[in-house]
């Protein structure tokens, strides 16, 4: 323990060495297996990651990755509908799945001796899903209820969805993960069958296991269950790069709501799209986000929520690890007596300051210290450890990027933060959305255009 402590105290660089070892394997059929040992508790998490998500979709079938995720619980020949969850449940497991823009992942967290069960079931449904139509017809209705709950009836989510679809033109990041209601209503079982055949194959999957396991034993099990699966001919997706934005975009979203809400997004590069000679830029943007919104002591909380009291809440976010060019986001709710427009002005002033004055040493140190400590805290959850590996592998960065990320963050200078602010946080690359609250009147629900699904 002493040794570890010394490392933490020292440089962030040493931390990567203190982290538990990661073992990486490739099966003959192209399936990648990554094992991270963590023997603190007799449990393990097993995750299967597929390189497919809403950013692989096109108009007309939006939401298909997510609906297919639901259908993955609806049976194979060997294990009919419902059996997957029942078996995992009897084994004391927690299971679920999630779909994002860049990936679809399935997981079971279980007592350590249950890995075999997880692998057996996951390998079976990787290639043998039956996709019965009657199950699909029920499940797609469940997804529509999910969409109503998460998006239709939530004014901030509605704003986010319309903001996103406006900010991007040619990039598939414009597609909502849950899909447009119209596409859900006209979706057919064959759309899912095609999607399943196209993407669910060992050579498009990464299996991550973290916890109280022996890597050799995990490899042996993986060979036994996933080894016999036939690979597919996976055609890489076309780049579908976002066209250059040539001026500010503004939109309003009118929905029944009590409070206004503001979203601002600037087009920004990520690690995968950054110019190689400017490799530091995405990391500088991460630090910039931390300066604005890295806890209660950061600028937005300190100056806009407290200080001027212009915001009831304000946040900044950016993810350097997306698969495609992404957005540096600012959002917030104005406090009473202030408008969304005033909040926008205040946020812009914050950006202006970042462009004009270098970030102070103490401020930078604070952001770095937080990110360093986070690396230790992350290890408290085996689920999170596996998730980090899964994301990095699936977007195409590789799990080693986690260590690289920490070194790069520690190296960011005040000048670099100022440089990325000047280069990327500019009006011509900005989209601004404002939620304009409409009265919450049950007798006069505002008309919602487009999909005619409000029955």
């Amino acid at each position: 323990m002493r040794g570890l402590l010394a490392l933490v105290l020292g440089l962030g660089i040493s931390l990567a060495q203190a982290a538990p070892a990661v073992h990486e394997y490739m099966l003959d059929n192209g399936l990648k297996l990554i094992v991270k040992e963590d023997h603190r508790a007799p449990v393990m998490v097993s995750q299967v990651w597929y390189k497919v998500g809403s950013s692989y979709e096109h108009d007309g079938i939006t939401g298909v990755s997510h609906v297919l995720e639901h259908m993955m619980f609806k049976g194979t020949k060997a294990h009919p509908a419902g059996e997957f969850s029942r078996i995992i449940s009897e084994n004391g497991g927690r299971e679920n799945a999630f779909t994002s823009q860049d990936y679809t992942a399935y997981f079971q967290t279980m007592e350590k001796s249950r890995l075999k069960t997880s692998f057996e079931l996951e390998a079976d449904r990787m290639r043998n899903l039956t996709l019965p139509e009657e199950e699909f017809l029920k499940e797609v209705r469940v997804v529509m209820e999910e969409r109503r709950m998460r998006t239709e009836d939530n004014p901030q989510s509605l704003t986010w969805e319309q903001f996103n679809a406006t900010a991007y033109v040619s990039s598939p990041y414009r597609i909502p993960v849950i899909g447009w209601m119209d596409d859900l209503e006209s979706m057919q079982i064959d759309d899912l069958r095609d999607w399943y055949r196209q993407w669910y194959a060992p050579n498009n999957a990464t299996v991550v296991v973290a916890g109280d396991v022996n890597p050799d034993a995990v490899l042996e099990l993986a060979r036994r269950y996933f080894g016999p699966l036939k690979p597919s001919d996976i055609k890489p997706v076309k780049p579908r790069r976002e066209i250059e934005q040539l001026g500010i975009k503004r939109l309003q979203v009118k929905a029944p709501a009590e409070l206004p809400y503001l979203m601002m997004g600037y087009k920004a590069p990520v690690v995968l799209t950054a110019d190689k000679s400017m490799e530091w830029e995405p990391y500088a943007l991460e630090v910039l986000a931390g300066v604005l919104d890295g806890g209660s002591g950061a600028r937005l909380a300190s100056e806009l929520v407290r200080g001027k009291s212009i915001a009831a809440s304000a946040s900044a976010s950016y993810d350097a690890h997306d698969r495609l060019q992404s957005l540096f986001l600012l959002s917030g709710t104005p406090s009473r007596g202030h408008s969304a427009r005033e909040l926008e002005t205040a946020l812009r002033e914050q950006l202006q300051k970042l462009k004009e004055e270098p970030v102070g040493k103490q401020e930078l140190d604070r952001v770095k210290a937080q990110i360093r400590a986070q690396k230790v805290y992350e290890q408290d959850s085996i689920f999170y450890q596996a998730m980090q590996i899964g994301i990095l592998e699936t977007v195409g960065l590789g799990w080693r990027e986690a260590g690289h990320y920490h070194r790069q963050i520690q190296a960011v200078t005040p000048e670099q933060v100022m440089a990325v602010a000047k280069k990327y946080l500019i009006d011509d690359h900005l989209t601004v959305a404002e939620l304009v609250p409409q009265p919450i009147d049950p007798d006069h629900p505002p008309r919602r255009g487009g999909s005619g699904h409000v029955r």
């Binding site: 017809l137 209820e145 709950m149 806890g295 407290r306 959850s381 919450i440 049950p442 007798d443």
Partner: protein, 442 residues
């Protein structure tokens, strides 16, 4: 069937052995001023979680709904002469994370820090100030009060939040649990700094505190930290017990109109105390009925068979006094009567005939084999310790949990559910739009 049961049994036996190895070794003592401490040494990661829990939730609001929550929100907004900025930056500079909050029963303040003395020492110093020397500055008070009002306004645009607030109100009537932790617009506006100071003085005292420490420390280090934090508070005394909950005498249904495409439905009654004698038959029974996700009966009937909702569930929220037993779902407005009927039929069917032997075996297998997952991280252990300490559960609570679950029989479940769960007396709250088919009330 036969095979399934054998597998389940084998499963239980293996899990019991490993669960026993996994269980945290809880050390407990009282500080000189009477705070209860629970400590678990977790040497693997160079970090520590410290949490102080007080019987200072909204059930102590009295005639000032919102005072507990606002007090909790003000603690780190200026303390020991330092401003909110200085406190936040001082902690973040060391990679420490401050947390806190307030629910109906409890209020808490927490710190996560690296254990390196150069980082932990100043973090503890600041944490101690937040805990024992909050200044309640007038300006910060005014801002937080406005924030609470905005929070209340925000809830009005969320059908799920509207349903929850009204559900508690209907369920608990005059009991302190009825009142919304965030208060009402009027009650929050009426609050003053003096009210917060008085609330703080009364409830944030050593005898009303449970200190939880989990991390890479030895017992003597933990003893020093606990004493330093808890003994900086005045001794004080525990507040008197809350009144018992009276059950509604007849059922009721409320419809609150909202321009949403879905109706959010909550149904239930006062349910379970933490130390309830029927705890295990009710808990295990509900696991089968609606508490085990997609494989539970309610989810099976509403979601899997009929595609009526994304989530349909039931659960007990055990509290000091009877916390709610809550069943719910959300569905398109014109389907809610159908889904509600399915929910009612599923519940009454369960009370009438109980679970099958197979269902009970599967539920036990899930709970017992999944037990190690409940204590697999420092955060989860901290949460359990807080519950054990706050609700005065025995220190061997985790060690005996699976044995209690295993001992539950079909007969005990039938008996407990018949005595305790009364669908005809349940409160139903519906928040949603006005479909042609739906009647305003029954």
């Amino acid at each position: 069937m036969q095979k399934l049961l054998t597998v389940a049994l084998a499963t239980i036996l293996t899990a019991l052995t490993s669960a026993a190895q996994a269980l945290p070794d809880i050390k407990s003592w009282h500080t000189s001023r009477g705070a209860k401490v629970l400590f678990v040494a977790a040497p693997e990661l160079p970090m520590v979680d410290v949490r102080l829990v007080f019987d200072a939730g909204s059930s102590r609001d009295g005639k000032q709904p919102g005072v507990a929550k606002l007090t909790s929100a003000l603690l780190d907004q200026g303390a020991g002469g330092l401003s909110a900025d200085e406190i936040a930056r001082g902690l973040e500079q060391r990679g420490a994370e401050l947390g806190g909050g307030s629910m109906r029963d409890m209020a808490w303040v927490s710190l996560r820090s690296l254990v390196d003395p150069g980082l932990l020492e100043p973090s503890l110093e600041l944490f101690g100030k937040v805990l024992a020397k909050p200044d309640f500055p007038a300006e910060d008070f005014a801002r937080q009060q406005k924030q609470m009002l905005i929070g209340l306004q925000y809830e009005k645009q969320k059908p799920a939040a509207i349903a929850k607030k009204n559900f508690y109100r209907k369920l608990y009537g005059e009991h302190p649990y009825a009142s919304h932790p965030a208060g009402t617009e009027d009650s929050v506006k009426a609050l003053d700094v003096v009210d917060l100071q008085a609330f703080y003085k009364h409830y944030y005292v050593a005898r009303n505190a449970t200190v939880v420490i989990v991390g890479s420390l030895d017992e003597s280090q933990a003893r020093k930290i606990a004493a330093r934090l808890a003994d900086s508070l005045p001794e004080g005394s525990k507040p008197p017990p809350l009144p018992p909950v009276t059950e509604p005498v007849k059922g009721s249904e409320v419809l609150i109109e909202h321009p949403s495409s879905q109706s959010h439905v909550l149904m239930g009654q006062p349910g379970l105390r933490r130390k309830d004698p029927d705890y295990f038959p009710l808990y295990v029974g509900n696991h089968i009925l609606g508490g085990s996700g997609l494989v539970s009966r309610i989810s099976e009937e509403i979601r899997e068979k009929r595609g009526l909702a994304y989530s349909a569930y039931s659960y007990f929220i055990p509290m000091k006094k009877k916390g709610p037993y809550q069943l719910g779902f959300q569905t398109r407005n014109d389907q809610r009567e159908e889904a509600l009927q399915v929910l009612r039929d599923t519940l009454s069917g369960f009370i009438a005939s109980g679970p099958t032997g197979k269902e009970l075996a599967a539920a036990k297998s899930n709970i017992v084999s999944g037990f190690p997952l409940r204590v697999a991280s420092n955060s989860k252990i901290s949460e359990y310790l807080a519950v054990i300490g706050f609700y005065d559960l025995p220190l061997n609570y985790l060690n005996t949990f699976t044995a209690h679950v295993e001992a539950v029989t079909v007969e005990q479940i039938l008996d407990a559910w018949k005595r305790r769960i009364h669908p005809e007396k349940m409160v139903t709250v519906i928040v949603g739009g006005r479909p042609e088919a739906a009647r305003p009330s029954q």
